[in-house]
């Protein structure tokens, strides 16, 4: 009986921690507000990595493969069309679209751990470059509600 009680107690604690942590986050699916501060991490990319070229720039399948990867790993937080959600910002915002491929690759690799963007170096390098190709191919005009109109 002691073991049962202890097991149930630990499970309850586990659930409680989950609830508390989850309640700190707003619900998904609500329209995100544009906040340029969330893109500040992009500015932290070292100069050297900003200049990196995408080795799959001329790969005709890279965007399609990137779209599959995006659906599998990123859409959950960034939205199915990368329009953003309350969990993560829009990837159609000008800050992202104007960033160099090297910067986006760097951000994917390192994540923004303190702000709950996981490290994605678990995806092999070519897959991260495929994702970058897909993200750069997105149409800025379909940006999230509240974000500024793209520059002409």
């Amino acid at each position: 009986m002691k073991a049962t009680a202890a097991t149930l107690a630990v499970c309850a604690l586990f659930l409680a921690v989950s609830v508390v942590l989850a309640q700190n986050k707003p619900a998904d699916g609500e329209a995100p507000k544009y906040d340029p501060v969330v893109y500040a991490e992009l500015q932290k990319a070292p100069k050297k990595v900003q200049e990196r070229k995408n080795p799959l720039e001329n790969d005709p399948d890279a965007i399609a493969a990137g779209a599959v990867l995006f659906e599998q790993h990123c859409a959950e937080c960034h939205g199915k069309s990368a329009e953003g959600s309350r969990k993560a910002p829009s990837l159609r915002a000008p800050e992202v679209q104007n960033a160099t491929p090297g910067t986006l690759f760097w951000l994917l690799t390192n994540g923004v751990v303190r702000k709950n963007m996981p490290v994605w170096s678990k995806l092999p390098e070519p897959q991260r470059w495929q994702l970058v190709r897909y993200i750069k191919s997105l149409d800025v005009s379909v940006s999230a509600a509240g974000s500024p109109a793209p520059k002409p």
């Binding site: 942590l21 399609a64 493969a65 599998q72």
Partner: protein, 297 residues
């Protein structure tokens, strides 16, 4: 105790069904290891439910089948917490629930480095009949498993286990090294162990189509693990060591499968271990729980 184990299994099975029927899934990019850990944590807010199984041969006694259910939750991008429920069946003996574990992994560094450390802290509340062989530690050897379940269950173990995980990913390969220190909170010395792992996806580029059998969905490698004695007699003597090829298959449906035949490397080790596991990741579990209790706005 048998009924407790059955209750735990039944509960886990219900959660599996629930996740299968209703919960949104996430594609897990799981490492194929069973014992070694790499530096990748669970995605924040996701819950992964896993079932693992270990069949082991036993010289001079009955073969056994250890199993555990694992609930792994991404509390944040730098903290993953897990609950394990363990049990085992010793053939021609009995089936017993052997205890639970609460594991936490912390990522101390903000960015990715060539070598990435992870701190691992685990509390184990189990009995002496535990046979899941989730780690190699101290002087744990094959002959320890000869004791009958009825006798072994009388020993209660409250243990703290600490690990330093050093992991690196280079050109698609993951290399990881885990150093373990465990202390039974009663009156036992610190025990030590290690685990090493190397793995790589079968393809580095993703396919342009969603597919089940694409090579990038498979991760293959090997792991090696064993004990390193204790504070009074550190070293390799009277310790067990294993080498195990590993294969993981991450299905686009959200399910993950792992399999690993393991081979004992010395006379103190079980000659053969066969492990397999199945997992499913539920995306946005934290938000779902939050909505359940907070209501919709």
């Amino acid at each position: 105790m048998v009924s407790t184990y059955r209750l735990a299994l039944a509960g886990s099975f219900c959660l599996f069904l629930l996740s299968f029927c209703s919960a949104p899934y996430a594609i897990a990019q799981e490492s194929p290891y069973f014992v070694a850990y790499d530096h990748y944590l669970e995605e924040p807010g996701n819950l992964e439910i896993e079932y693992f199984s270990t069949f082991g041969t036993q010289r001079g006694g009955n073969d056994f089948h250890g199993s555990w259910v694992e609930f792994e939750y991404g509390a944040s991008a730098w903290w993953t917490t897990e609950i394990y429920l363990d049990g085992q069946t010793t053939f021609s003996d009995s089936t017993v629930f052997t205890g639970f574990r609460w594991e936490n992994r912390f990522r101390p560094l903000k960015r990715e480095h060539f070598i990435n450390p992870i701190f691992y802290v685990e509390y184990e509340n189990k009995n002496g009949a535990d046979k899941i062989l989730k780690e190699g530690e101290g002087h744990d050897v094959e002959s320890d498993f000869l004791v009958s379940n009825a006798e072994a269950r009388k020993e209660h173990i409250h243990e703290i286990e600490l690990k330093l995980i050093l992991s690196s990913t280079f050109k698609g390969w993951n290399f990881t090294q885990n150093t373990l220190a465990a202390k039974n909170l009663t009156n036992s010395p610190w025990e030590f162990g290690y685990a090493l792992g190397a793995s790589r996806p079968l393809a580095l580029k993703a396919s342009a189509k969603r597919c089940t059998f694409c090579p990038q969905n498979f991760v293959a490698g090997a792991e090696m693990y064993g004990g390193l004695g204790d504070r009074h007699s550190f070293g390799l003597h009277d310790t067990a060591h294993y080498l195990a090829p590993v294969l993981g298959w991450n299905l686009p449906s959200g399910w993950g499968l792992r399999i690993s035949p393991g081979f004992g490397l010395n006379d103190n080790s079980h000659q053969f271990l066969m492990r397999w596991g199945v997992s499913r990741e539920i995306s946005g579990f934290g938000s779902m729980v939050s909505r359940l209790f907070a209501g919709r706005k």
